[in-house]
Symmetry: C2
Subunit: 190 residues, 2 copies
């Protein structure tokens, strides 16, 4: 059985806590939706912030909504060198001891001591997709993508939930190294 | 038999023709050596140039010497998006129909119509290494690199010569996608 999964390329982006939304955009401010993402309920917001590390700044980083419990900036390793931050490769939400950054919005700025990560590549499976493919939550997969720059990504984390839609998330370094773009098809090898 | 090869990560760099060296640095100018590279006779020069595409500029791109027959700028795909150029994935020297760029130095500037490429990943083998590993010139290899971000690169081009030293050349996108750095060890699978 061929196990095919669409690829979603994650450019650098940030998730904000509601507390930080209000520091950056003003008291009581609510993020507004620009467009929905592949995962149900998630959206790209109209709002952006600037982020600044010891070596550089990205002036317009897209916020993904809705607000979360903790602020998390996801960058590629290339981005981390540009910013001058030591961002570890982590699963989303696992930010303990990760890198810090200064975030600025129209109403203020905030410096976080941790929250900057390089997201570990992963595949979101709806429970029904995982059953169909015979894949368990948290298992590590090998996945082939790309054409002339074809690569096999090892240690791809499976994340299974009734709230997920089938999608493989890689960052821009991974996408560019493999010459793939949004909507290309990856194949799970094992 | 394990077939192990050291990894060399190529940051963006440029090779210049002697004609372009003289336009950019002045009539009769000769590049000067800062440090030798892994390949015999090749060196990083003290000199840098700026390169500018439709969307962006890199102000200090290292020149690799000695001067070559044709000018060639090698960038990562991430860099190509920053510059705003459509650089194809090519073997070094295969620049026909590739992207153009404007190059500026202290004495002048030059716009090339072709010469900007994303270098296809490859391994340099001294003839004796290739014989030991049983690998033919121009063959395509699969090569594993990296730890927690481990990847298998497919279509890695073998280049065999008495003038080469054993080294796998990947660009910064590939290195960052795999979490590897200069001097890490890659393993040829087949």
């Amino acid at each position: 059985m061929e196990k095919k999964v669409p690829v979603g390329v994650s450019a650098r982006h940030i998730h904000l806590s509601q507390e930080h939304v209000e520091i950056l955009f003003g008291k009581g401010y609510q993020l507004t939706e620009m467009k929905p993402l592949s995962q149900p309920g998630q959206y790209a917001a109209n709002e952006t912030v600037s982020v600044t590390g010891s070596k550089g700044t990205f002036p317009k980083v897209r916020i993904l909504g809705p607000a979360r419990k903790a602020t998390q900036l996801e960058v590629s390793q290339t981005d981390s060198f540009t910013l001058g931050v030591k961002a570890p490769v982590r699963e989303s939400g696992d930010i303990k001891g990760s890198a810090g950054i200064t975030i600025a919005g129209p109403a203020g700025e905030v410096t976080i001591e941790e929250g900057v990560i390089v997201a570990a590549r992963h595949i979101h499976f709806h429970t029904s997709d995982a059953e169909r493919f015979g894949i368990a939550d948290k298992s590590k997969l090998r996945v082939r993508v790309g054409g002339e720059r074809g690569v096999v990504f090892e240690h791809v984390i499976a994340r299974v939930s009734d709230d997920f839609a089938l999608d493989m998330h890689i960052d821009t370094d991974e996408a560019n190294a493999a010459g793939v773009k949004n909507g290309d098809i990856a194949e799970i090898i094992d």
